[in-house]
């Protein structure tokens, strides 16, 4: 068997993320995939220890450009529990809305990237066009498309007016109809050809390798942190989306259904939105340890925060969902796929290497 070595990444704009896989291929078949990470380390965890805790929100937001809401939510919830305070109910609802909007835009973005990875450019463009409306909604609420700067320790920084809520409702209607518009594509022959049976991860393997988020849910594991009822999720009605396809198509399907679920959650939030304060102010010292977990679009996001009573935090440790999903990805790749499938498989777990390596 004559092997070639192909370096998949880290440094080219067309690859999904700055992750590197050294692939040994025979003809086009991948026989060995070796991940190498650590190309985009930014020293963010150290910066957490140097900054003022309230400035850290902006730092946490910049860990990931796609999911700032879960990162800041996880961070502020951790700090709040250190301080022993709780955000007012309205702030919790606003946080939930932001998180769900974030999930919608992240999943649509992912669907578009999948389209790009399998050479379906018009699908990519179309989905991103729809995503633009979600980003507009986010900008109308928070003032910015990408870095929302909504969360604050003890609540949120901006309130939502009734007008904004109504606008959001309209956006949700638009997004829902758009998604229905393009849903047919899921049944496309070429898309099925490129995703079905590609990157198989059985339930057993998903548990063994510690997959999280949609990657786990596509393998039949009903695991969704939102069911733990943090923020407003306790008041909302939803069931985790689980499918049993165990392949890239399954992960596609999970995200697609989660999009609808998120739209539904936002509508519930709008209906149930309580009135009142949005910020609890406190000057309590930060002492002790806190663990804060949030369901980010890619899966479980984990923050460990340690304070020592001083003005600065002693340690902030972030464990991103992608980190948990790298091993399952290697499992998928090592089952033997084609070179063409590598980007689909890597993408199917929705990698975010910049936040993994921080």
């Amino acid at each position: 068997m004559v092997k070639s070595t192909i370096t998949f990444g880290p440094q080219h704009p067309v690859f999904p993320e700055p992750i590197q896989f050294i692939l040994k291929v025979v003809d086009e078949k991948v026989v060995l995939a070796e991940p190498q990470i650590g190309y985009v380390h930014r020293g963010i965890e150290k910066a957490f220890e140097l900054n003022d805790p309230k400035d850290n929100i902006f730092l946490a937001e910049r860990i990931c450009g796609i999911c700032p809401a879960p990162h800041t939510t996880a961070y502020v919830r951790g700090v709040e529990s250190l301080m022993g305070i709780e955000a007012p109910p309205r702030a919790k609802y606003i946080r939930t809305i932001m998180n769900e909007l974030n999930r919608i835009h992240s999943h649509i973005l992912w669907a578009g990237l999948l389209g790009d990875a399998i050479g379906f450019e018009s699908y990519f463009m179309q989905t991103w066009n729809y995503r633009e409306k979600v980003l507009d909604a986010i900008e109308k609420i928070s003032g910015h498309r990408v870095t929302y700067a909504m969360n604050a320790i003890g609540g949120v920084r901006r309130d939502m007016t009734n007008e904004q809520l109504r606008g959001l409702e309209k956006t949700m209607d638009y997004v829902e109809s758009s998604l229905e518009n393009i849903e047919d594509v899921m049944k496309d022959y070429t898309i099925k050809k490129r995703t079905q049976g590609i990157g198989i991860l059985t339930e057993e393997e998903a548990r063994r390798d510690g997959a999280v988020g949609p990657t786990a849910r596509a393998s039949g594991i009903s695991q969704d942190l939102r069911t733990s009822g943090y923020d407003a999720y306790g008041d909302l009605k939803f069931e985790p989306v689980v499918v049993n396809n165990c392949d890239s198509y399954g992960r596609f399907a999970v995200r697609w259904q989660e999009l609808k679920q998120s739209i539904d959650l936002i509508r519930q939030c709008i209906v149930k939105m309580p009135s009142g304060e949005i910020l609890t102010k406190s000057n309590n010292p930060m002492n002790g340890e806190a663990i804060s977990r949030v369901e980010a679009p890619r899966g479980e996001l984990f923050y460990y925060i340690k304070g020592n009573g001083s003005k600065k935090l002693e340690r902030v440790k972030v464990r991103t969902p992608t980190f948990a999903n790298i091993i399952p990805t290697v499992t998928m790749l090592s089952k033997g796929c084609q070179v063409a499938d590598v980007s689909v498989i890597v993408l199917s777990m929705d990698p975010c290497i910049s936040c993994t390596e921080r």
């Binding site: 900054n51 902006f58 018009s122 699908y123 507009d136 003032g143 518009n181 047919d184």
Partner: protein, 122 residues
């Protein structure tokens, strides 16, 4: 495939979603945080609250020369300074900063009645 066909043919006759950006700009949303501006320098009391609260430390306040300076490349448009300012000197504008070729500090000076007008930007 048929679904996509419908969409692409629909798009052929639809208004296009993109625009020729630098020539054609989208009107910013209300309350958008595009860039920060020392809009009402005449009210500034040089209390240094903005500089103190700025997360990336992009603002420097020069009380002696009555000047505030912003490093636009450090600024993250979070709007904390605008919230912290007791005199509402700082405003967030909706429009983004123009792309630039060189690093420049944005300096805003308080106009003193009898003094000569210093240059707004250096």
């Amino acid at each position: 495939m048929p679904g996509m066909l419908k969409i692409i043919f629909g798009n052929l006759f639809k208004k296009r979603a993109t625009r020729l950006y630098p020539f054609e700009k989208r009107a910013p949303f209300e309350n958008a945080r595009g860039s920060m501006d020392f809009a009402h320098m005449e009210n500034c009391i040089f209390c240094n609250l903005c500089a103190k609260n700025c997360p990336p430390k992009a603002i420097t306040v020069d009380r002696a020369n009555k000047r505030n300076a912003l490093d636009p490349l450090r600024c993250i448009q979070c709007g904390v300074c605008a919230e912290a300012c007791p005199k509402k000197v700082i405003e967030m504008r909706g429009q983004y900063n123009e792309p630039c070729y060189a690093k420049r500090t944005h300096v805003a000076a308080q106009v003193v009645k009898c003094a000569q007008t210093p240059p707004e930007q250096k």
